[in-house]
Symmetry: C3
Subunit: 468 residues, 3 copies
């Protein structure tokens, strides 16, 4: 309930000087030399510039998308990268022309530099998600705070291996998360409330990051020992990220004190500990073939760590659960006007929720773009997924074995073409998807489980996407 | 779930130069001419100024009102421009001294200019509405996202009739909505999720705008074909706005694929298509009589288009529904210190929800202001509404025929008097309203339907209103 | 539903000039004298600077904290300054290492200066509170609007005793609230929706503030006379704050028209009026002994005024309720590197909710800090509370008599050490608390009432805290 007024960095002397200058008729400046007035202006501008550029004070960042996804009757169509049965265990398909929602992140930053040079960055992220196309969504919107943390860097008193380290505490997305944009899937997504240190430099090419995160499983009955039953910290994750040049080695250990009391699939064998690890390479070109970039990552986890992407988020995992995932993508130009971004994401996991279950899926996706003018390009995306899911009846789900394919054409406007990361974009699109009927038997509650949702469909729509 | 770090427009060279300048003692500038230093300052300031003025980077806009509306016992009084029976079909009365809520819109903008000159504007609007006067309203507040869209203008590659066009996509209020401020009523209010193009210039004096909007009806059972049942896109609206000098001709066509399955008043005759149109004139003076402005609009709609203001928002309309609405207002100065703003809004509609129903109402309202000092004016508002509503029992409502009158005196403080659009304002007010007892029989759930809410009442209160 | 585009303060002439300058090659400036260009720059910078510094246009303020509070099993521990039985009537204990939540206030300001010099300040505060450590809290977050008001100052037409007055309206925290930071407790916390005037200057050393606030009691059945049942204004508070040099005398009168119909503890004797008053001294040194500051306040209230801190917020108070509270704190440096902040807060109240009940509690708390480097200090907090609560069975609560003690050690990082008010801070902490078993019998629903929550516990955690 407290709020304390800011004692803001006000360069009082400079301001006073300026006011004096600005208020006087030109002739009265005579007693001041041009040199003095130039120096005063340079100093004032040096104070103003970092604020205007967002390097000090307030700045604003965003990720947002919003659009319509319609079927051939002009009605809302089900969609989203996670719409197939494999999506329930992280197997996304291509997102272009496949998103029915308005999702946005409004990020408010405030940066300061102390007199001793230590920098401080406060970040607040408010996010919303809704599939309503209405302009008033108080009933079905989801505005909430996803991040609220401070990070200190350039600490005046840090020396040795900590000289360039930064420290943080609060609620955040880990700094080292990275994603496959075309699936709306992170390689790893670690988030929660905690504290940590980045950039401990053991040598010029070896740096490490260490953090502790707490988070809850979304649907676990709460600990009776707390006053607010609905939102305990169930799971603690200790994480280390180690960089050796372009190589990244991440290791996470986690512990959920009471999770062995949890009943999953009628049996009490939920994991209460877990580990997972990732070996990744961040390439500065397109697999050594051409300009561009590529990333490849191999992930493996056990117990609570068998959810290898959303670290520590799944509390239903079996104590014997084992998962292995591989992700690869790259981007490059094929010619002056054609770009390509192929990718593969695949996972195999066993004893995931119930002893004896087995989940295997692989997604292959390629986005192509053809830049046609300063503001326009044609985008194409082809996505193919094959899956073999043996659920042992977990959550009433059936066993399915089959594949899903999707192809999208999206005429796209943007302020300036020139690469896969240029945003904003305004798109219209048409998308055709087709899949084995067998997949419809996985879950009566999911998109493919709906009646009259046959083995193929056309969808159409429009969307904007922006980040800055 | 993704967020990509901004690669911000950082004028690195300029910044480096500046830092060098600012860090050096005055004497060391000797080798640089005054000319060079002046030019550097001018360039740096040219980069900073658009940010400070909100023309590039972040800027903030707002509409907000917050106040107390009390009856003579010092208790909350019912209120709001839509409190009469006619309010249920859009018949608002004067708002001065008649608003019990805190309503606000926080608008976060981010503007960029690409190297090729194309401009981009991202707008996020978060809004809240509550009648609670408490400072913690997590339980009865309504924070939600009303707009999230991007608009491109000055597109480098657009030529011919599109040379000055702008394009947009996302969730938004249409750019061409305009309102009668004194009733808190738009002439037209079109909003939803979609995409469009503005300012296609067929000639110097003829321009057109075209957009497609999707939105849902608030209370229609959802399409079983979707994963999220509560928030489908039920209704698609295709809109065109054509400007011929001061004339505006709007035409909207809409289609709600499954709305003919909807049951209204026990019968299945809900419209599944609709059209409406508006002819408006935006006057640059007070009806040709004196300085000021005026607006006049005639609206007509059928089927789903029979809700002529909130385009596409009402899914209960009968397939034979027909509505015609007329709106007029003007503002002018009567003398150096007195201003006046008279207005009329009236509508007739038939077969609106049930065959044979008929709704007719007319509101006459005048706001007067007497500027008494740099910061103070007396405001007066008189509002009179007559209505004849034959509901055919729709939603259990009775037939009513009668009138309602309201008179408000509001001593008002503002930073600078000088017109109807100057805000912020801080007001105190006293208001007297009186109405035919007959109106109390319309709906037991509305304000006038309450017990002990007789045929007249005094209300008092205080309020702030701001926009920028 | 309306939003009007801002007609922003655009210094068009200056901008045009600037654009001309910036766009031309250096040589073309020849016809303009250095003097003219210097003057133009000075004027432009004078317009830009107040925006960059947040003195005009948009600015951003924050209070936020976020962290983990864990018990020795690595599970969420109950906590918070108000966790003891005395907390139910305002008796907080020390907050260091005792906060399980993410709480934040995002404050968006917009300031303008009219041509006549009148200043306007719009403030919007959005706040959230959750004990979830997850990064998605749409289900258990609480985002809401706590403040939305405008305040005018330096009014051009105000003279005499009002010359330096400012006026406000909307929803706000009163400007004159002040707090004991270490308990997360205000001395007085007055908030709601209303209007008022600050700084009426009767003489150089005597100024007064007058405001009217409306608010609702959180759990009172709503007035059937209103359209929105859940959020009436039940209680009106008239407040005056009078300053005589360092002395502050506050007096509040309140009236809740229908509160005598309220049933508390089965009986209908709830107060429907109340008064309270506070005499406070704001000291500019540490009790006259050394540099620093101190504050002391004596509060007394009756009826609805018997909740002496949260003015007007408690509607269950008995008509005969009487409370008296004393608060004292001070801060000073003991040496170059040690600081201390001792404090006492104590209250006695009678016939509070039920005739014959009696609540007495006293908290003694001291925070110590030892500054060890530019970025690091050790913080210590000792808190002791004694209470004797005779509830007469109100809300099923038992009578308790006992004490609670807490001791915390918190290694703390900050951008720059140097006082109790420097933020942000990043802390890790260990805390030991112990209490009389008797206190566990107060309320089965509170923290100490939980099973296996014995007479002492160790807790650990990490937290960030920031304000600016």
């Amino acid at each position: 309930m407290i709020f304390r007024k800011a004692l803001c960095h006000r360069p009082v002397a400079a301001a006073a000087t300026l006011t004096m200058f600005a208020g006087l008729p030109v002739g009265l400046h005579a007693q001041e030399s041009v040199e003095e007035r130039l120096s005063a202006l340079e100093q004032q501008l040096a104070e103003v510039e970092p604020h205007a550029r967002g390097e000090q004070g307030f700045s604003f960042n965003t990720y947002a998308r919003s659009g319509l996804l319609l079927n051939s009757d002009g009605k809302s169509a089900p969609g989203g990268p996670y719409l197939t049965p494999a999506g329930s265990v992280g197997g996304a398909v291509g997102r272009l022309g496949n998103e029915p929602d308005t999702y946005l992140e409004a990020i408010l930053n405030y940066k300061t530099v102390a007199e001793n040079g230590t920098q401080s960055h406060y970040r607040l992220m408010i996010a919303d998600s809704t599939t309503s196309s209405n302009d008033w969504t108080a009933g079905d919107g989801a505005l909430n705070v996803r991040q609220a943390y401070v990070e200190f860097s350039n600490l005046a008193s840090f020396t040795g291996i900590f000289e360039d380290s930064s420290i943080w505490a609060g609620k955040r997305f880990d700094r080292d998360n990275f994603d496959i944009h075309w699936l709306d899937s992170d390689f790893v997504f670690l988030a929660g409330t905690g504290a940590g240190i980045y950039d401990v430099a053991f040598s010029d090419s070896v740096t490490s990051n260490f953090s502790l995160y707490g988070r809850s499983f979304l649907d676990f009955p709460s600990d009776p020992n707390t006053t607010d039953g609905s939102s305990d910290t169930d799971n603690l994750v200790l994480t280390a990220n180690n960089y050796f040049g372009n190589m990244q080695w991440m290791i996470n250990g986690m512990s959920a004190a009471d999770n062995d009391e949890r009943i999953v699939g009628g049996v009490m064998e939920a994991a209460d500990t877990g580990v997972n690890t990732m070996l990744a390479y961040h390439g500065g070109n397109f697999f050594g073939i051409s300009d561009g970039n590529f990333k490849v990552a191999l992930l493996h986890g056990q117990g609570l760590g068998a959810e290898v992407k959303n670290i520590g988020a799944d509390g239903n995992l079996h104590e014997d659960a084992v998962s292995t995932r591989l992700g690869i993508y790259g981007t490059t130009y094929l010619s002056d006007t054609w770009r390509i971004a192929p990718m593969i994401l695949a996972e195999t996991s066993k004893d995931r929720y119930v002893e004896g279950d087995e989940y295997q899926w692989l997604t292959f996706n390629t986005r192509l773009a053809n830049e046609l003018s300063a503001n326009f390009e044609m985008q194409y995306e082809a996505s193919w997924q094959v899956m073999d899911l043996q659920t042992q009846g977990y959550e009433g789900r059936g066993d399915v074995d089959g594949d899903y394919a999707r192809f999208t054409v999206a005429p796209t406007f943007k302020p300036q073409v020139g690469g896969f990361w240029n945003r904003p974009e305004i798109r219209v699109f048409a998308s055709y998807s087709t899949w084995d009927d067998d997949l419809n038997g996985f879950d009566g509650g999911d998109a493919l489980g709906q009646e009259d949702f046959g083995g193929s469909q056309w969808t159409f729509g429009t969307q904007m996407e922006i980040w800055f």
